[in-house]
Subunit: 630 residues, 2 copies
Amino acid sequence: MPDVDVRGFWGERIDAVADRTAMILYDRCVAAGMFDQIDPARPVPPVKMPWHMRADGTPDTVNVQMFWDSDVAKVIETAAYALYRKPNADLEAKMDAIIEMFAGLQQPDGYMNSWFVRMQPGHRWTNLRDCHELYCAGHLMEAAVAYFHATGKRKLLDVMCRYADHIDETFGPKPGQKPGYCGHEEIELALIRLGRATGEQRYLDLARYFIEQRGQQPHYFDVEAAARGVDPAQWRHKTYTYNQSHLPVREQGKVVGHAVRAMYLYSGMADVATEFGDDSLTDALNRLWEDLTSKQMYVTGGIGPAASNEGFTDYYDLPNESAYAETCAAVALMMWASRMLGRGPDRRYADIMEQALYNGALSGLSIDGSRFFYDNPLESRGCHHRWSWHRCPCCPPNIARTVTAIGSYMYGISADGIAVHLYGASTARLSAGATAVTLRQETDYPADGRVDVTIGLDRPARFTLSLRMPGWCGQAAVTLNGEAVPMVENGDGYLHLAREWKDGDTIALDLPMPVRALHAHPAVKADLGRVAIARGPLIYCAEEVDNAADLNALIVPEDLSAAKTVPVPDLGGAVAIDLPVRREQWPQREGRLYDDHPPEYATMTARLIPYHLWDNREPGEMLVWIRGGR
Amino acid sequence: MPDVDVRGFWGERIDAVADRTAMILYDRCVAAGMFDQIDPARPVPPVKMPWHMRADGTPDTVNVQMFWDSDVAKVIETAAYALYRKPNADLEAKMDAIIEMFAGLQQPDGYMNSWFVRMQPGHRWTNLRDCHELYCAGHLMEAAVAYFHATGKRKLLDVMCRYADHIDETFGPKPGQKPGYCGHEEIELALIRLGRATGEQRYLDLARYFIEQRGQQPHYFDVEAAARGVDPAQWRHKTYTYNQSHLPVREQGKVVGHAVRAMYLYSGMADVATEFGDDSLTDALNRLWEDLTSKQMYVTGGIGPAASNEGFTDYYDLPNESAYAETCAAVALMMWASRMLGRGPDRRYADIMEQALYNGALSGLSIDGSRFFYDNPLESRGCHHRWSWHRCPCCPPNIARTVTAIGSYMYGISADGIAVHLYGASTARLSAGATAVTLRQETDYPADGRVDVTIGLDRPARFTLSLRMPGWCGQAAVTLNGEAVPMVENGDGYLHLAREWKDGDTIALDLPMPVRALHAHPAVKADLGRVAIARGPLIYCAEEVDNAADLNALIVPEDLSAAKTVPVPDLGGAVAIDLPVRREQWPQREGRLYDDHPPEYATMTARLIPYHLWDNREPGEMLVWIRGGR
């Protein structure tokens, strides 16, 4: 993990998570009873536990969940980044106690999963398809690496390495090993991370094995179900597209199934492609990338329109009001995009990473870090609101760990250079090969497109600094030590400055941020005749609190030159857009359902705010795709 | 049934049914195996019978259906009107043979239902909620009356009067009688019709009893289920709104549940209100009418947007592509509207009757009378087509009997007058009180708004002739014997000419038929920013065969003055509308999902055809609500 001191926009967000969200996540895991399941010192709980009161006053129950280890793991990972940001003895003690629980769970052979150790002993590795067993292991590996880096404490890392060794012995092509893989991908990218952190090649090889094995025939989930005495066809998800095991990964070209699973798989594939220099995987990844981003992605970077499979449906099926677009899925898209940058800078990936980050992912966390969205629709009639907890609590720690780890998404480093993928006020201590470089960004980004970069070096050094020229900004202007730099396009959307750098060199970027109207592909029926307003990396929306109800009566003009940008104090100074629009009115209707009279139009100034900030004030309607007029 | 000789538009439709549809309906009843269930001379069939071949060549089966009596009844009713139109010895012999089957089914006590006599004996009257038992009786009563009027043959009428007597003994408030009513309304309006045809007051009283009893507590369907040893809550439709038994009828104000059931109930209520002069029922009916027509009706007069309950959902929930809008439901709305005219002319009802008739109902029948729509969406991407038969074959005979009986919807008669509700080339022999009047309409309606009415009388007579001035025509012009008649509005939308009429008096109506753009209430999200083009009573649509694919790229201008009307030979000379429109184009997209470039616009002439005629030519896309531009 790169050493980045983040200030400004993201600094405030990280502080909110460190000061508030991390402990909220812990408290809510306690309230959900997760540690009753995990802690081997406690009695084994019943499968159904009391939970909260229903609106009618009767008690509701919650099932102990076989994937709770993963939720706790993401809380540990979040806490790790929070502790890296600022010390918190109470939080650290709580995490240490949880780590003791997991250590106590570990079996003599290294196995460690609270569900199969305590709730359903004797059934380990019998249902990889449904039971999230390797998925839980993967999240705990990620937590272990993060906690070690943040605190220097090895305990969880050692536990997870022993578990990884056990998994490596259990799975593989040799006699007596299981040729299986997890129904919910995650272990693949986690093993890469663990392998990179520990230098253990076996972990990288095992990640590759899981990737290669997926979708091979005879199908492991069929064989496994038969071994349980169960008909594989009697499965509620019905098709292996649900978990992307319908085909070997190199033969996949359409993004299908559960959105988070798909993104985690592709993230793992991209990591393996990077580690092993595997171009055949990269070919499949590029097909899938094109498929997702040209036919199946919301303008917010949200993905997976359907609640039924928490995932993908048909091409261009992107309904706004019923959009599922799970926070975790946007986070996972960001993860995939980040990993597609593993083999070098390319704006195709970095632009989408930024789009998902600032819109469909960040929307999952309230400004103060205390409330969450699970699904992120692009339109609301006023009944969709942030909640304080969820029965399936995957999203809150996922967005929290992502926000606090934002520094790890900002830069790409290689033997001969540094790439700046994301802009934001920060100071990073990086290495271009053997050269230690301090890279300081001063900027109000994303409120403003001016970015001043200062290079810190102990001695002059030759390396390439690659600066992303975002696709949304049209023509950027860049100066180096006050001199204009010509924009040379090499097709990857980055400006590559290869030279001998000196301490104190400065680069100034001016990324124009006009107010833009985005038009969806005409096959997206939900967006026909509508526009999404954008500025810089931010997608905007209208909220009832600013514009009164009935947002579908607003009509945005084709000419946006009258738009004004305004800071909004009660949204942390975020930049709103004030835009003259027409409002459709029907004074002569008298309740008639169908009528000859055309509408009349009033003019008004609509206020649009960044999408990720919606539902932080008075609840009400929200709309991203606003009707456009000519 | 009034004696009306229909020519012109409806004459051609009636001939298609008489010449083709009536025998098609019979043949398909044979093919479906209905007479294996009904004919007591045949062996009792299995519940699952072979049906047709699937696309993959394997045989499919169909369940014998407990409501097949009703489908056959509607075929008899259609045949009756066809025989009234023109003799057909073969068709009549086939109907006589079916009537013999029903007569043979009748039990010594008068009971007669093929399912409970042959398939499930011993279970009669045990599940009124689900088993369509009284519903089947109702349709057979309607068939009996029609067949008697058309042929003079009493056999089915006598059978059904005996059955009605048995039902009258079985149901009622007296000890030993069942206080029940049918889950699928129909018996109510049928008993009124049978009572009017036979003069038997008991049938009218029984219709009123069923109406009054509906929704009373203790709920009959609860009691009945308990008597069967079944939990009433274990019912797939879950709520009694499904069959409008959630409340006593006078307390109902929201149109809910299964659309056909609702319309048949309200039809029966309107008949009872008329027969018994019951204003308290009329109050409820007016509330329900307002509710339906101001918040829950498609512009085609189609109703019931949802397939799940074949019925109503929320206010203004009128999706176009997924519209269920069953043909039977539009027919039933027409029936209700017609019965709302029972207490005198009122354009509120007659306009909607015409709207449902010419659009959402007539769309159910192909021009040649051989193919049918069950559901009538207002938009198709090209995969919705007319079929030759259906497992639930309620719609084909329903639209067929309605078309052939169109003469019975055209006029209202009372002791002192005649009201013309629908215009169409025809000659009617009517009675205004004791005065026999021949009323001849010469017109190309609905292609043209000129209607010439000639009065035929043996001797001069005083009565009121009431002529509907359709709500869609703005300002009509009327002359009487060549002299302009001043338009006097009395609030009911009819021009009332009260005078002494002489043989040969002529009235000429000029009903302007400009091309109009209809705008939906802004709460109808599916129609936002869109217009439906109408002319006279007809709603128009665009088809792919005339306009190429991608109909959602068409944008209709606000000013329709350039629209031209053109007769289309391959649609029987129907009037098309040729309209200059813009077509949205995206030349710079290059497959991008979201893009800064606004669309470009080409101009073209779109051809629109009457909605009811769609899918009579090459299959393809169809669209009613076309995007509107300013």
